[in-house]
Subunit: 432 residues, 2 copies
């Protein structure tokens, strides 16, 4: 197996006991085998040597909620009320999406994500074979799921569920193990209770986790109470969703009692601060979730409601807004925010060997150019990453021991072609 050695680097490990290491990191095959003082002798002999001078290395960002293909609708209908935006802009356009459009939008998103330091993402959408193929080509890691909406006749429900099961069987463990799968009822308000139960049964059979939208808006919570007599958390609990390992997206409107239930079942929450602000959904109770011991991570949501896929922005927002809104200047400190966007993201999708830089872990990491004014003086590099850096400071990206980006150039994808085709797909969709 190929051995690569990075010297003269500064490494944010995301390990509490030695958060910043200066020196050398060695990877062999897909894994990190060494990090620390420059080693001598046989251990130090490598096939590839990289000079890490002027660079800061850290685990890649893990984006735990999104709809990659929606980048085709970036900026198409901003600054609108949510229902108008959905009914007049998003749904009519999405209904026209072909498999080729999903491929095109997904590749555009993957390109944006990887160049911005995201090494793994969760995707819930349709035409998921196209998404999986794009992940395979790109070299990223992903946790994929065919999101199903159940507001349709029984035979359509059946077909969608069958498709979701087929996809999971075909791709769970695919792309050399870089792809895992989940089962996804889209949301409590888009799936009748019996359909959710059938999806849960399928997840049990496949031994897969569940991913769903939950309690994103106050209106949706209220309607759940009116329609089913309970708020979304109790509703999903009753339907057995939490009997599976579960990752919920958003979780903006939660009571203390609901936070307790999420903790009890070890339900993971993907916090999407940018999307929640832009769509005026509100500010999730992240300090309370963290205090209760709920595992929280970060997601961008789709680019149509964000409007980028910039995980560093989500990390910074997580560190900033909860201070400003709670009035507590020590809420979600920099270290905690960076954890949410890296190692806690990986743990949220049940990966224990991704998200820190230490021997035995997958070599999923990024490098940032820190020879820039906003990284000076060298007071606290963790602070600098969270409060001062931008995703465009990322120069190199490695996933599963393979370089996907070097010197800001993506090695696995044709950047020009992807941007050109996305533009063409958008123009066809709007002219049709």
């Amino acid at each position: 197996m190929k051995k690569t050695r990075i010297d003269n680097g500064i490494f944010i490990t995301m390990k509490e006991e030695n958060p910043v290491v200066t020196g050398t990191m060695i990877m062999e095959g897909s894994r990190i085998v060494y990090i620390g003082e420059p080693p001598a002798g046989e251990l130090g002999e490598c096939d590839e040597r990289v000079d890490g001078k002027g660079k800061l290395f850290l685990p890649g960002f893990v984006n735990t909620h999104g709809h990659a293909a929606m980048s085709l609708l970036r900026g198409y209908g901003d600054d609108m009320a949510l229902q108008l935006w959905l009914q007049e802009k998003m749904w009519p356009m999405e209904a026209k999406f072909t498999a080729a459009d999903v491929r095109s939008g997904t590749l555009l998103s993957i390109l944006e994500m990887v160049k911005g330091g995201t090494t793994m993402f969760v995707d819930m959408y349709d035409h998921m074979n196209e998404v999986a193929k794009a992940v395979e080509e790109s070299g990223l890691r992903a946790c994929l799921t065919r999101g199903v909406i159940g507001l349709c006749p029984r035979e359509v429900q059946d077909a969608k569920l069958e498709e979701a099961v087929r996809f999971a069987k075909d791709w769970h463990g695919g792309a050399d193990g870089r792809i895992t799968a989940m089962m996804s009822p889209h949301a409590p308000y888009t799936c009748p209770p019996d359909y959710i139960e059938r999806i849960v049964a399928a997840a049990h059979e496949l031994n897969l986790p569940i991913h769903t939208h939950m309690s994103e808006t106050a209106r949706e919570v209220q309607e759940n109470v009116e329609q089913y007599g309970s708020r979304p958390v109790a509703h999903l609990e009753k339907l057995g969703v939490f009997s599976r390992p579960t990752l919920v997206a958003h979780g903006v409107h939660l009571t203390d009692e609901e936070i307790g239930i999420l903790k009890q079942y070890d339900v993971r929450v993907s916090h999407n601060p940018n999307s929640n602000l832009k769509l005026a959904s509100g500010v999730a109770r992240v300090p309370e979730l963290l205090k209760a011991g709920v595992l929280v991570s970060l997601g961008t949501d789709g680019a149509a409601s964000n409007n980028n896929l910039d995980m560093l922005e989500e990390i910074r927002l997580a560190a900033l807004i909860h201070k400003g809104v709670s009035g507590d200047p020590v809420a979600v400190p920099a270290w905690d925010a960076l954890k949410l966007g890296t190692v806690d993201g990986a743990r949220s999708i049940w990966l224990e060997d991704v998200g820190t830089l230490q021997p035995g872990m997958k070599a999923d990491f990024i490098a940032m150019d820190i020879d820039q004014p906003h990284f000076f003086p060298r007071t606290n590099l963790i602070s600098h990453v969270v409060y001062s850096a931008t995703s465009r400071d990322v120069t190199d990206v490695c996933v599963d021991g393979r370089w996907l980006v070097r010197n800001r150039e993506c090695l696995t994808l044709d950047e020009e072609k992807i941007m050109h085709e996305a533009q063409g797909a958008f123009e066809r969709l709007t002219s049709a």
Copy 2:
């Protein structure tokens, strides 16, 4: 005078009636003389031709509140309660700042700002001659003021005021007119009432505006009431501050009545969303200020409480947080947020010929590389700048008709030297 022509560009003009122009812009000397279809004949003959293909041009960002030298303390004491942070970290270090430190920190900040697309900034600090000289060298535009704290004996007050007057006389209209000056009582809580009155008298004599911090924290408002029997707005009104053109920083904690008073006196408010969130000061009532017709602009505050000087981040935060906090998804739309960061910033410091791209205006503009995935598809470029771009997408910066940055390289400043010296200054300050 030198004539420069930019062809094949897309220009965000910040004029309501023609927000986006595709074609050619021509500048002559320090001003824009043409924008529109590529002109033929004599008008089109130029000394310099620039190909604007793949670039988006827009007015430079105007940062209306900050303390540039404080970038020397970037990341030095984050995630702390405000009073601890001030008393244990900021004040002891700032007390040690020499003129050379102020020069070093200011150059670091100017370099960061200009590379991120800021073409003009407001600075309130000490050793202002160093700041003015750094502005002169760099080529930026600035509105500068010696901020005075009056919690000291009368003779020290006198000396500070005299220094502030001297500075204003020396530099107002300096650097080929790129520097203007203001008078600055630091804040109602750091200046006794009679001292504020004397500063106002000096401002009348010099015919200069006033800049001050106001109503940044709830605690400060409460203490003003306890000490002086009124909230800061009424207090400053009574002391005659608003009899001068006034720009206040922060304005986080305002009642409806206070917003009315600010409007009545045409007081301008510099909104500093990132700093206000990070220090947990709260969320300013920007939608209400805008609705009342108060002129609002954006500032970064010092890099010690931000921790960068990234105006695009302030623009994005202004567009995002007020939606999320108010629950109104159309609060502060993209166009309005971009205005706050450009033309309204210039108007806030009484410059009417900066901030839009049209004939007769100063040639203060920037270019962004939009051949990147997060700018696709080409739906709405104003949305893309506000919701999707980063300051590191800025490739070129022009101020007063002079190129300061080309292809991401600053032409007027020695980047390596500035970063090296800032690091040295910080190390001396912490080891002393």
